[in-house]
């Protein structure tokens, strides 16, 4: 294999491993969930992306042929990482705003402010029959946590 290509692959692998480690280190070290979200969703995704790019260069260079799998995994991860981070942040604001497992380091003391429009936030809407849901704070006092569900 060409030494230049070999060097590029080795550099990408080291970069990927370092970014993955930094992301998880941030997950352990940072004080609140809103800061912890940064590590996995940015650094770890970038680290996995570097590993995938290294593999995309390695397989054709080693004479094993190009496969589209790495490209698909990269695209899928890069599309889904912000969505999952958004969902986690949303559920976290919801729970912290209702005083479920509060963490003072967050700085979140209230739930989402009123929308100002004719409808409330979609996460507060009443769902179908038999669905245990959180109702809006606007017309009810904050509920006591009884069954572990938010």
């Amino acid at each position: 294999m060409n030494p230049l290509i070999e060097g590029i692959i080795a550099g990408l692998l080291v970069l990927g491993g370092s970014f993955t480690l930094i992301g998880s280190w941030g997950l352990v070290r940072l004080p609140s969930l809103m800061t912890r979200l940064h590590g996995p969703t940015k650094a770890t995704t970038l680290g996995v992306g570097s590993c995938l790019v290294a593999s995309m260069i390695f397989f054709p260079a080693a004479g094993l042929g190009f496969t589209a799998h790495e490209l698909m995994i990269t695209l899928f991860l890069f599309i889904t990482a912000p969505i999952s981070a958004h969902m986690i942040a949303k559920s976290h604001i919801h729970r912290q705003g209702h005083r479920l497992d509060p963490n003072p380091a967050d700085g979140i003391r209230e739930a989402l402010p009123p929308t100002g429009g004719p409808t409330d936030w979609a996460t507060y809407w009443q769902g179908g029959e038999g669905t245990p849901l959180v109702v809006s704070d606007a017309d009810q006092p904050p509920r006591e946590q009884s069954d572990g569900r938010g």
């Binding site: 070999e6 080795a10 550099g11 993955t20 352990v28 996995v48 995994i73 999952s84 729970r95 938010g150």
Partner: protein
């Protein structure tokens, strides 16, 4: 050179999986646990890719692809459950 870099990367990813396991066990909130699980899935994908490079085989890429899909769906399902108390309304 590649084998040394590969060894370093696999060691890093292994340590990251252990660190996210620590966050999964420590918590404290359910959001932290969901995030730690999501990180573990992403690290497992990285580990599978590195294993593929080491083995010089592209057999396991399907596993990584499936894990990426299932990991995302499970994260969203967990969040939806925490948010609404139900997944499919």
């Amino acid at each position: 050179m590649i084998s040394t870099a590969l060894f370093f990367a696999i060691a890093c990813v292994t340590v990251s999986i252990l660190l996210s396991l620590a966050r999964l066990l420590l918590g404290p909130s359910s959001g932290d646990r969901i995030l730690a699980l999501d990180t573990m899935v992403i690290n497992a994908i990285a580990l599978i890719i590195l294993f593929c490079i080491q083995e010089r085989s592209d057999t396991y890429f399907e596993a990584a692809l499936l894990l990426a899909m299932v990991g995302f769906v499970s994260t969203v399902a967990y969040c939806k459950f925490v948010l609404r108390g139900d997944i499919v309304e």
